[in-house]
């Protein structure tokens, strides 16, 4: 794709990629499929990320959002700087213990459904900062869906992480967030459930 001109519309249709329609029954004037699939497809392709970038991995995220890698191609160009409108919390960088309650508050403020992507060794496990002031992995305070290893991970890896989140979003049952199992999981992190 790189280096070639991509026409915005017109004959060269194979250059423009759009999402496949979900499985279903089609006839003249109607298309029937399950609600799960349609909603999953819509969610997966319009994830609004909230970047929680605290250090060097955040710089790599900037490259990911830039024109070379361009996370916008995956429906995530709209960065949300308020947690209330975000679907995906991307934690990139070292989280100190003093920052942990703030991270948790940000997660709390996000509306369901929400996913968490932990980018880099620091966010996943504390990384090289095995020290009294650094949180040894954000999964000590909030649940994490996908971990991206690396110090820092390349933009390709971050994109792969986002694609993994998309797969989770696509295949998630609509009832999952109401299940007792999910509530128990949140309670194990001391997160209030309504």
């Amino acid at each position: 794709m790189f280096g070639k001109k991509v026409p915005l519309s017109g004959r060269n249709k194979q250059m423009v990629k759009i999402v496949d329609q979900p499985e279903g029954y089609e006839g003249q004037g109607f298309f029937a499929t399950s609600l799960d699939k349609v909603i999953g497809m819509a969610r997966a392709n319009s994830l609004w990320p909230l970047p929680f970038a605290t250090s060097c991995c955040g710089i790599e995220f900037m490259a990911t959002m830039g024109s070379n890698y361009d996370l916008a191609r995956f429906g995530s160009e709209r960065l949300s700087f308020t947690p209330r409108q975000a679907d995906l919390l991307m934690v990139m960088g070292t989280i100190s213990k003093k920052m942990a309650p703030i991270l948790k508050q940000v997660y709390d403020q996000m509306a369901e459904p929400k996913w968490v992507l932990s980018v880099g060794a620091c966010a996943c496990s504390g990384g090289i900062f095995d020290t009294y002031s650094v949180l040894q992995g954000i999964d000590r305070v909030i649940p994490v869906d996908v971990y991206v290893p690396g110090c820092p991970p390349r933009p390709e890896q971050i994109i792969e992480g986002v694609i993994k989140i998309q797969e989770l979003a696509k295949n998630e049952s609509l009832r999952r967030r109401n299940s007792d199992e999910y509530k128990r999981m949140l309670e194990s992190y001391n997160i209030e459930t309504k």
């Binding site: 003093k98 504390g126 095995d130 020290t131 009294y132 002031s133 650094v134 040894q136």
Partner: protein, 146 residues
């Protein structure tokens, strides 16, 4: 007591004369000290009775002369007078030194932790505490030396 180390004048001062010394240096005509560049502490666990040393870095801007003032104190009575009245910038630096070494600055207007989390119940730069995070249990093999 005066000595020279790394091209900088070192002055040892007992804690009770600290304020006097600073005031004298500020008033010294040939090289008046205007700036407190830095304030920190050092922990020497083996020096009985002088375990903690509070270090003041001073700068005379007119003469471009730097000097170091050191105050040695015992760890169980780690108190020195505050410099907030002499240098407003001492406020946060003293909070930092308190945060990491537990040195109490007498007369400080607001001696709270500044960098570490408020719930922390020790002063992490004192050498009796491990630098590593104590809550990890996955690093116990020979490579990590735990």
């Amino acid at each position: 007591m005066e000595q020279d180390s790394y091209g900088m004048v070192n002055i040892q001062v007992p804690a009770e004369h600290l304020i006097e010394a600073i005031q004298a240096l500020k008033a010294y005509e040939k090289a008046p000290v205007q700036l407190l560049t830095d304030l920190c502490a050092v922990h020497y666990p083996d020096k009985a009775g002088k375990e903690l040393e509070v270090v003041y870095h001073l700068h005379s801007l007119t003469q471009n002369l730097r000097l170091r003032l050191k105050v040695a104190i015992a760890q169980d009575a780690a108190t020195v007078p505050t410099l907030c009245n002499e240098f407003a910038g001492a406020n946060w630096m003293e909070r930092e030194t308190f945060d990491f070494y537990g040195v109490k600055f007498e007369g400080h207007p607001d001696l709270r932790r500044i960098l570490n989390m408020d719930q922390m119940d020790y002063h992490p730069m004192l050498k009796q505490y491990a630098l590593e995070d104590e809550t990890r249990d996955d690093k116990d093999d020979q490579f990590f030396g735990r």
